[in-house]
């Protein structure tokens, strides 16, 4: 019985000490980490649509409305799209303009195969998204014909699909929620224009 308690208590002691230490470290790293994360996200948004201020809208899809800093006019929207790739989830941050045409995208988190899937983070890949409309977001391997489609990365079709399809799906959702939002009713004319264009 004594041994029982001894073992239990020693392990208890170690766990308590370790946890105390970790909790202590966590207590002052956590705010910093969160601050850094927020800043990074903000930086990324700024990179995608420069000179803007952002307003977060939460919902089915959380997105930010980007307004011009001076005119307060809506310049576009940014959002984070995610889909599983080859090695795990691929997170892409994208910015679209009012007509839901892509301004630019950035792959912010991925665990793809080095040398193949990881090429998705390179500008060579992400630049081709610029200016693409919703229905141009088809990967060439799926029947899309460039330049009106996304050219798949060599040996990493799955990663390409993950990025393209995630962005595509998110734009779909974005359109739905933007059109519902009363605040953006003013945009309805441009949405209508899009319908006409189709």
């Amino acid at each position: 019985m004594k041994m029982f308690l001894q073992l239990g208590l020693i392990l208890l002691a170690f766990c308590m000490v370790a946890t105390a230490l970790l909790a202590y470290v966590n207590s002052f790293t956590k705010p910093r980490i969160e601050a850094i994360k927020l800043k990074e996200a903000a930086d990324a948004r700024n990179e995608l649509i420069p000179d803007s201020e952002f307003e977060e809208i939460t919902g089915d899809l959380s997105y930010y409305i980007a307004r011009d800093k001076t005119t307060k006019e809506i310049k576009g929207y940014t959002f984070t799209a995610e889909q599983i790739g080859y090695g795990g989830p691929v997170k892409t941050m994208a910015a679209v303009d009012k007509d839901f045409k892509i301004i630019s995208i950035k792959v912010i988190q991925q665990t793809e195969t080095p040398g193949l899937g990881t090429n998705a983070t390179l500008p060579k890949f992400t630049d081709q998204f610029k200016g693409k409309t919703l229905d141009q977001l088809t990967v060439d391997k799926d029947g899309g014909v460039p330049p009106n489609a996304i050219k798949a990365l060599t040996g990493a079709t799955i990663t390409t699909r993950a990025v393209a399809n995630a962005v595509k799906a998110s734009i779909d959702k974005l359109r739905a929620s933007v059109s519902q939002s009363p605040e953006t009713a003013a945009l309805s004319d441009s949405t209508a224009a899009l319908e006409v264009a189709k």
Binding site: Q6, A18, N26, F28, T111, P114
Partner: protein, 196 residues
């Protein structure tokens, strides 16, 4: 004197990867680029030294039956501390290494050294052992990473070393390439040993 001996043995004679064959998983997983390898090596060295110190301090008060749980608690704590601190204070480096840091917990080198060395030796020697083993680990990791990065990407530490016409041999960056590269390096070590 023994401090120096413990310090240097890990680099070649008892190299944790090539000779003792421990810590295969991080070796293979993080050797796709020299940058990753160096970061991983340094982080692992830090944890190794810390846990070696701590374990050699507590070696007399841990009962055998719960030795391993106590050690892993110690190691996991240090790893988490490293993880959190890096995220908070050096976010850029953490970003490029972030994924691999929790992996250090299961790097068998650390528990291996705790079991094989730190719980039998004094603090000073344990520090030396930790540093030596850590350096050996970093070194071996960098060697593997050098081969893989050059062949698979044409670069070394992100600097282009092979001409543009070189069509990178992607396999070296993939799992099979990792295994085969390390396999051949070990065969090379064996050959050198035989010659001696």
């Amino acid at each position: 004197m023994s401090f120096i001996k413990e310090l240097t043995k890990g680099i070649i004679k008892e190299n944790p990867i090539f000779v003792i064959v421990l810590g295969m998983c991080p070796t293979l997983a993080t050797s796709t680029s020299v940058e990753n390898a160096l970061g991983m090596g340094m982080a692992a060295t830090f944890v190794l030294v810390c846990s070696n110190i701590f374990i050699s301090l507590i070696k007399n008060i841990t009962p055998d039956k719960i030795r391993i749980p106590v050690y892993v608690v110690v190691i996991a704590s240090f790893v988490t501390i490293v993880d959190l601190s890096m995220a908070a204070f050096i976010p850029d480096l953490h970003k490029s290494l972030g994924l691999f840091i929790p992996l250090i917990v299961v790097n068998c080198i650390i528990l291996g050294r705790a079991e094989a060395f730190a719980n039998k030796n004094n603090v000073l020697n344990s520090i030396a052992d930790g540093i030596g083993m850590g350096l050996g680990f970093t070194l071996a990791l960098s060697v593997v990473a050098t081969i893989r990065e050059i062949l698979g990407n044409g670069t070394w530490l992100n600097i282009k070393v092979l001409p543009e016409t070189y069509d990178p041999m992607l396999i070296t960056l993939l799992a099979p390439g990792a295994f085969i590269t390390l396999g051949f390096l070990m065969a090379l070590m064996n050959m050198l040993k035989e010659k001696k």
